[in-house]
């Protein structure tokens, strides 16, 4: 199948998001679509699959002028879309999720469960994942849910598969698996549109790269004829210096320490320390339990056992409010569900954890609050008209910066960042790293959970590897390599 | 396929029973209203005196619930049913069920449109409505501008009092407005307030029960028209009588709910004593007026 989109334009209200995009895809190729957050990549794909309607432009499919009215129609015509935001039903089982809207049914309209089960098992086997089909999806990790989305798409026998940041929630292992599948699909002449902010992946699997900037397609070239720096330059419009900025901070005393943190069936005997000015990276496979450890020590989930020390003093944390009062901040991995109030303004989001600090006898000093928000926005280069813009109108990267701003604002001594750059473009990533460095300079102790191995290696002073709820090992910056981390992460020594 | 209430057990000669052995099922339309509380008290007081067992249920003004309640009483094998229907028509099948089970029925305050009942104990609501209208014409003059506060739409008391009132008012009063206030005091207040706004020259009010009348009196008071507007209520509840004594309520068509209950209970005793019972036992109505 061949698709050709030319001169695509689209505005949301007064916000013109696509201003003339040309994009094409040929059978059997992997075509990477690159661009900063908010460049319009997802919007372009939404138009292709009929979720949005273009204002102007032409779509030609197999030589025919054609557009789809809705995603279902696109899918029936062989174009499947794995969305950036997952479209799962948490309360329903894996099996039900896989077949929503396309259940196999007999002539009477009865659902044929057995046949669906067989088909699902086969697909999972192809993907190399083992997920219980009768489990509720809400009990799965983000990564596992992502695999379900991929499986869903594979089952449609699509000719074109759009993958919008499919690996953002995956770790190396699953990514390897996904790439194998992509190769198989290519041999079956399936075309893949691949969107990702992980540069190294792009060069590994794509045949062509199209770069978008501010709603315009800048360039399309063969992957083998271009370079990483080249693509980055086209995306951000200037040269980026080194990807992982140098960190100079002095590492001081131990600020934060845990001893024997345990939560039944989740993790056991987790002990570690973090020093002032230090960035400790937490690595591990999908579902290893990193997120759960952090949630428990921050008081979101309950801890069964263990002790927490802050600056040498034993502290108890029963809920986030207590953690914040002690000077601990936590950027959660799921910014839309737990990090932001999407409909609210940037200011209201930034000031939320510090709101009591702006109150005089309970009355909010809105001037001080606005100054505070403004300062942080400038400091973090949040791209927005002003602080009263609603967060939902920002691009993913800028949303992530708002969450970050909110935690920096409370003046934490200890900052836990769970997947801080998930779905964030290269430019913004670099700014976030720089920010982490600056915080470290000021003596903040930073814990960074990340599934992005290069990032772990590039940013951390020390790496702790979690395997099935246990600390599998610890590596100093100097000794850490991808191989060593993977070995620990998979239970090897 | 069969129907319930189809095969009425022939009510042969009544098996005489002593009051102390009797189990009486009582179904009251609602206990959210002082009137029916007095009614139930009338029944239980007499029953207690005679050592009779009473099983009482409250339909909360829901016709369907009352049918269920009566089924429950029939299940428990009561000897006789004293029913104060929520609605005269809707009670019919329940009475038929009781007939089929061979359980005699006495209705109180409101009749049953069908089935066989031993007797109906009630005051004549139509007559009461007429009494009220006549008294208003007497104190406020013929063709006085009068408004009516109606009870719960569809309730037989509402219909019958309205009917009686209209019978007389058509000829001798000038009815300027008539709205429902659901037998409720708070609604009586607001509805009256609004009526006063739209009809400043109201001279008299007929409220289909005392609760609404008392609400209307508050509205008249806050409009500063106490004394200018005559209010006539219905029921003769404790509060109503007090208001008549205080002169804020001109009159109330007093029913005697407790007496009604007693009469019904007594009829049940007489029935099981083998006496013949009148088809209709009138509970006294009395116009209680200030001086």
């Amino acid at each position: 199948m061949e698709v050709k989109m030319t001169g695509i334009r689209k505005s949301f209200g007064s916000n013109s998001v696509l201003r003339g995009v040309d994009f094409d895809i040929q059978a059997g190729e992997v075509h990477a679509l690159m661009g900063e957050n908010g460049a319009g990549k997802s919007t372009l794909m939404n138009i292709l699959t009929g979720l949005h309607k273009e204002d102007a432009g032409e779509i030609v499919i197999n030589g025919e002028n054609k557009r789809f009215d809705n995603p279902k129609e696109a899918e029936e015509n062989g174009v499947s879309f794995i969305h950036q935001e997952m479209n799962t039903w948490p309360e329903m089982t894996v099996l039900e999720n896989l077949f929503i809207g396309k259940e196999l049914k007999n002539k009477m309209g009865w659902v044929k469960t057995k046949e669906m089960r067989t088909l699902a098992e086969a697909t999972f086997a192809d993907l190399g994942v083992q997920i219980e089909l009768d489990e509720d999806v809400k009990k799965l990790s983000v990564g596992q849910q992502q695999m379900i989305e991929i499986a869903k798409s594979l089952m449609t026998n699509a000719q074109v598969i759009i993958m919008d940041e499919p690996t953002a929630a995956l770790t190396e292992r699953e990514i390897e698996m996904l790439f194998k599948i992509i190769h198989t699909l290519k041999t079956k002449n399936v075309a893949i549109i691949y969107i990702s902010h992980r540069m190294e992946e792009i060069f590994k699997i794509s045949d062509r790269i199209t770069v978008m900037r501010d709603g315009v397609s800048i360039d399309t070239s063969l992957t083998k004829e271009t370079t990483n720096d080249d693509v980055v330059r086209k995306m951000v419009g200037r040269d980026l210096e080194d990807y992982y900025p140098k960190k100079h901070s002095k590492i001081g005393e131990v600020v934060f320490e845990t001893k024997g943190l345990t939560k039944e069936n989740r993790f056991e005997n987790i002990s570690f320390t973090v020093k002032a000015g230090e960035i400790v990276g937490f690595s591990g496979l999908m579902g290893a339990g990193r997120t759960e450890i952090m949630r428990s020590l921050f008081g979101i989930d309950e801890l069964d056992q263990g002790e927490i020390y802050l600056e040498g003093e034993k502290i108890t944390i029963k809920n986030p409010s207590m953690a914040i009062a002690k000077g601990i901040g936590f950027l959660t991995e799921n910014r839309k569900e737990e990090g932001l109030i999407l409909d609210y303004s940037i200011r209201d989001n930034i000031s939320l954890p510090s709101i009591d600090g702006f109150s005089k006898k309970g009355l909010i000093d809105t001037h001080a609050e606005s100054d505070f928000a403004k300062l942080l926005m400038e400091r973090l280069h949040v791209k927005a008209e002003d602080q009263f813009d609603s967060v939902s109108s920002l691009s993913g990267g800028n949303q992530q910066k708002v969450v970050l701003a909110k935690w920096i604002g409370i003046g934490s001594k200890v900052l836990i960042l769970d997947e801080p750059t998930r779905g964030v473009d290269v430019g913004a990533k670099r700014e976030i790293y720089q920010l982490m460095n600056e915080l470290a300079d000021r003596g903040v102790a930073i814990i960074m959970v990340s599934s992005d191995l290069p990032e772990i290696l590039g940013v951390s002073d020390r790496v702790i590897v979690i395997h099935e709820g246990h600390v599998a090992g610890e590596l100093a910056k100097t000794e850490a390599t991808e191989e060593k981390i993977m070995k620990l992460a998979t239970g090897g020594y | 396929a069969t129907l319930e209430g189809e095969n009425t057990t022939e009510s042969g000669p009544v098996e005489e029973k002593d009051t102390a052995e009797l189990v009486v099922g009582v179904s009251i339309s609602t206990l959210n209203n002082p009137f029916f509380i007095s009614l139930e008290e009338g029944i239980t007081d007499l029953a207690d005196e005679q050592g009779t067992t009473v099983k009482s249920v409250d339909a909360q003004d829901d016709t369907a619930k009352q049918t269920n309640d009566i089924d429950d009483l029939i299940q428990q094998g009561v000897d006789i049913l004293l029913i104060n229907p929520v609605d005269s028509s809707a009670i019919t099948p329940a009475v038929e069920s009781a007939n089929a089970a061979g359980i005699p029925v006495i209705t109180i305050d409101r009749s049953s449109d069908g089935g066989q009942v031993v007797t109906l104990v009630a005051s004549d609501n139509v007559e009461g409505g007429e009494m009220a209208a006549e008294y208003i014409a007497e104190i406020s003059g013929t063709d006085a501008n009068t408004v009516q506060l109606e009870g719960v739409p569809g309730a037989s008391a509402t219909r019958e009092r309205g009917e009686g009132f209209t019978n007389v008012a058509e000829k001798s009063l000038n009815v300027v407005d008539s709205q429902t206030a659901n037998f409720d005091r708070a609604e009586g207040l607001t509805v009256m307030e609004n009526m006063l706004q739209s009809n400043p020259e109201i001279q008299a009010v007929f409220a289909q029960n005392d609760e609404m009348a008392l609400g209307a009196i508050q509205a008249i008071q806050s409009a500063g028209k106490t004394g200018e507007i005559q209010v006539v209520g219905f029921d003769g509840t404790e509060d109503g009588i007090k208001a008549v004594e205080a002169g804020t309520l001109s009159a109330t068509v007093a029913q005697q709910p407790s007496e009604m209950g007693k009469l019904a209970m007594q009829a049940a005793f007489d029935y099981f004593a083998g006496e013949t019972i009148e088809e209709y036992i009138a509970s006294p109505l009395e116009l209680v007026k200030g001086e």
Binding site: W89, V111, G128, L285 | E4, A64
Partner: protein
């Protein structure tokens, strides 16, 4: 093959069963309690009586289950019941064939439900406020149509009487209707794609749309079903009372919603079971019937009912943990 992907929680988690059994357990405990105090409770006669009492609420609650699974609510069921019944009774009274009149009533109920659905989907109104408004409107129309009076003189036809007062092989016909409806709706909800879509809409409306589900159509259909069930309950009540009452069905939505929630269906949508609703309706019915049998005063009955609802919901929460 990669092993690390497996989920630790297994399919047959005993706690899951507890969660599902929670409502049933509550019902059993309740039945035992009532029986101990008054053994007459479990006499076959009383049980049939109880089932007949339960049937109307159960029918309404079945429809409400669909609505609540989509994350909605239908406050208008009581008024829909009253209006469709009044129309039917009016038609019979003015000479229409009773069977046709009953069909008319079911159509009317379905239409009133569909109006709710359209307000919610096309009008994008919150279900609570849309059905609150139609609750008032349908009730008002009933009062206007009946002029506040019950409609009587409708009871000649055997078929019509049979619907509410008949027995089939010793089982009250309303109970038969309840069982048939249960089976049909069970299949619709749990075995057919319509049900899957219902759950999908409740679980994640946006994702359902993207998955090609015609949310608006399904939702309108669901509110129509709710209206249909309300009008069916209305036919039974009208037949049982031999008259259409203008105030019929007042506040029935509350018992129906309570039954659905007691049955374990979540008010936030996306989760629920029809068999749970049946059990919920039986709990409410047993409470009503049992407390009458135990001679508890109607004032205390309300207190007890509220407390039982709280306890049952809390227990269910606990089991689900």
């Amino acid at each position: 093959m990669i092993q690390t992907d497996t989920v630790k929680t297994k399919k047959r988690n005993p706690k899951d069963y507890m969660g599902k059994l929670g409502p049933l357990l509550a019902l059993v405990v309740l039945v035992i309690l009532v029986t101990v105090v008054n053994p007459g409770f479990i006499s076959p006669n009383n049980l049939l009586n109880l089932l007949r009492q339960v049937s109307t609420n159960a029918l309404i609650a079945f429809g409400m289950t669909f609505v609540i699974i989509t994350g909605g609510i239908d406050l208008s069921v009581g008024s829909t019941l009253a209006l469709s019944s009044a129309l039917m009774a009016g038609a019979i009274a003015s000479g229409l064939d009773p069977i046709l009149a009953m069909v008319l009533s079911l159509f009317a109920g379905t239409a009133f439900g569909a109006v709710n659905g359209l307000l919610i989907t096309k009008g994008k109104m919150a279900p609570f406020i849309a059905t609150l408004a139609t609750m008032t409107i349908y009730r008002g129309l009933t009062l206007v149509y009946t002029n506040g009076n019950p409609i009587t003189g409708i009871g000649d036809s055997f078929i019509f009487k049979f619907v509410g007062r008949g027995y089939l092989f010793g089982i009250p016909f309303p109970v038969v209707l309840m069982i048939i409806s249960f089976i049909l709706l069970y299949i619709l909800l749990h075995k057919m794609t319509f049900g899957r879509k219902t759950f999908a809409i409740g679980g994640n409306e946006k994702a359902a749309f993207i998955a090609g589900i015609k949310n608006d159509r399904i939702k309108t259909g669901i509110y129509a079903i709710s209206g249909l069930m309300a009008s069916l309950a209305g036919i039974i009540i009208t037949s049982r009372l031999d008259s259409a009452q203008p105030t019929a069905g007042t506040s029935y939505e509350m018992d129906a919603i309570a039954s659905v929630v007691l049955g374990g269906t979540s008010l936030s949508g996306g989760r629920g079971r029809l068999v749970g609703t049946l059990i919920g309706a039986l709990i409410i019915g047993t409470l009503n019937n049992g407390m009458n049998l135990l001679g508890i005063s109607s004032f205390y009955q309300q207190v007890v009912k509220g407390i039982v609802i709280i306890i049952a919901v809390l227990l269910d929460r606990k089991n689900k943990k």
